[in-house]
């Protein structure tokens, strides 16, 4: 059997998405399944990401696998100047699966060419973070009961936010999605994604601030507007408070609407939203564990 990797969200077809959703629901019902018993999984974090690493390591533990690896490249041979090629060659001799995070874009694809065992990309710089997209989709299907006919509002940094780009690509595989983008002009959705939607005949609307139109939303997907992204600090000061979601803004939204956020949050969702049943971001993070169990099982053919 040819080894299967998960490097980019485009590596998965609609059938793969649906299978992962189905498996994630199964793991949510029954989280402890010893499908990785006797297997060794390497978690190689060339840059720290505590949240993603703990989520993957919880998933591996619940599957009964053993973990080797590092959480920061300063504690590995990388700090001695070892190439990515050599690190991956060595580790793929030891482990049955490699989960890796690396600051350079394309590093995971390259690792998949070098490695004899499957690679799961847990983030390669600003490029891809496919397990995040799959857990976002699982959160949508769990709360809305479907992936077709979703009206999603993406808010904040839509220019550099890799999570919104990947989610846009994935949801476009389903029937009749509607995208609403709320962002300052400096951080608007890039042309190439808008062109992609136009070519597929998918509807999208652009807004520069929140309005009553959010009453149509099934999902509001919040991202952080980072000060570093602005060339002009005055521009940042002008827009920084426009993209903060507050509890009082949610009055007219649908009762089934949910708010997602890839976390960490800074101030873009006011803490007064947290107790609203529409706030879903903390459960979304928990869904990540089930989704990662599902991804591992799917690509390794364990279930």
């Amino acid at each position: 059997m040819q080894k299967r990797d998960l490097i980019s969200i485009n590596d998965f077809s609609k059938e793969d998405y649906l299978r992962v959703m189905e498996l994630a629901a199964d793991f949510e019902q029954n989280p402890n399944q010893e499908l990785l018993k006797g297997k060794v999984v390497a978690t190689l974090f060339f840059e720290p990401s505590t949240r993603t690493r703990l989520s993957f390591e919880t998933a591996i533990n619940r599957l009964g696998g053993r973990i080797i690896g590092f959480s920061d490249s300063s504690s590995s041979s990388v700090s001695k100047g070892e190439s990515l090629h050599d690190t991956i060659r060595m580790v793929s001799n030891y482990a049955d699966l490699i989960v890796m995070r690396h600051p350079l874009e394309g590093s995971a694809r390259y690792a998949s060419e070098v490695s004899s065992v499957p690679i799961i990309n847990a983030g390669d710089g600003a490029n891809q973070h496919p397990s995040q997209t799959l857990l976002d989709m699982y959160s949508i299907v769990k709360t809305q009961g479907r992936l077709d006919d979703i009206n999603i509002f993406m808010v904040g940094d839509l220019k550099y936010g890799r999570t919104v780009h990947s989610l846009l690509m994935a949801l476009s595989e389903f029937e009749r999605p509607i995208f609403n983008f709320i962002a300052p002009p400096e951080l608007a959705m890039p042309e190439e994604y808008k062109r992609f939607l136009e070519n597929k005949g998918i509807r999208y609307f652009e807004h520069t601030e929140f309005s009553d139109i959010i009453s149509e939303a099934d999902i509001i997907y919040m991202t952080r507007v980072q000060k570093e992204r602005f060339t002009d600090p005055i521009e940042y000061e002008k827009v920084k408070n426009i993209y903060i979601l507050r509890n009082k803004m949610l009055k007219k939204t649908k009762p089934t609407m949910k708010i997602l956020h890839p976390l960490p949050r800074v101030n873009e969702i006011h803490t007064d939203v947290d107790d609203n049943p529409k706030a879903y971001y903390f459960t979304q993070a928990l869904n990540g564990v089930y989704t990662r169990q599902a991804i591992i099982s799917h690509i390794m053919g364990l279930k």
């Binding site: 350079l104 874009e105 694809r109």
Partner: protein, 152 residues
């Protein structure tokens, strides 16, 4: 051909003439074809007047005949290049270059944070548009546009 022009670069008996190279890309073409380490006679000229390109370069290589795959590598820097295959001072065949679907280890990715610019490895691009040239990096998935193409 008028006499003055004919004298600019001398004729070869057998070999290949590569014409219509953009003047500023002449040395890129020499590099890509590895001409700096062959033993045969090579003559080249640049900054010659061209109706098509403004200024053009030309290379004549004696006793060398290129395979299509080899010559298509120069398409990135000289998409309008034309080849004349010479035998006994006569042009026996004319060829144009074609941009291949995949470009391996010729161009650099424009993205400084791409793994290919930080690790000793080959670059690989899918050609997503021919005119103007747009190259999608197999690794970082970013697009390098024609005016950003740099030869490794």
């Amino acid at each position: 051909m008028d006499k003055a022009k004919a004298l600019q670069v001398s004729a070869i008996k057998d070999g290949t003439v590569i014409d219509h190279i953009p003047a500023e890309r002449l040395f890129d073409v020499i590099n890509i074809l590895g001409l700096f380490n062959i033993q045969e006679m090579i003559t080249f000229g640049t900054n010659m007047d061209s109706k098509l390109l403004g200024k053009k370069g030309i290379i004549k290589v004696a006793n060398r005949f290129f395979k299509d795959a080899e010559i298509d590598k120069i398409a990135l820097v000289a998409p309008h290049a034309k080849l004349n295959i010479i035998q006994n001072y006569e042009v026996i065949e004319k060829r144009v270059v074609e941009i291949p679907d995949e470009i391996v280890n010729i161009a650099k990715c424009f993205n400084p944070k791409c793994i290919t610019n930080n690790e000793n490895m080959k670059t690989r691009f899918t050609v997503i548009s021919h005119n103007p040239i747009e190259l999608k990096c197999r690794y970082c998935e970013k697009i390098t546009y024609e005016n950003q193409v740099v030869i490794r």
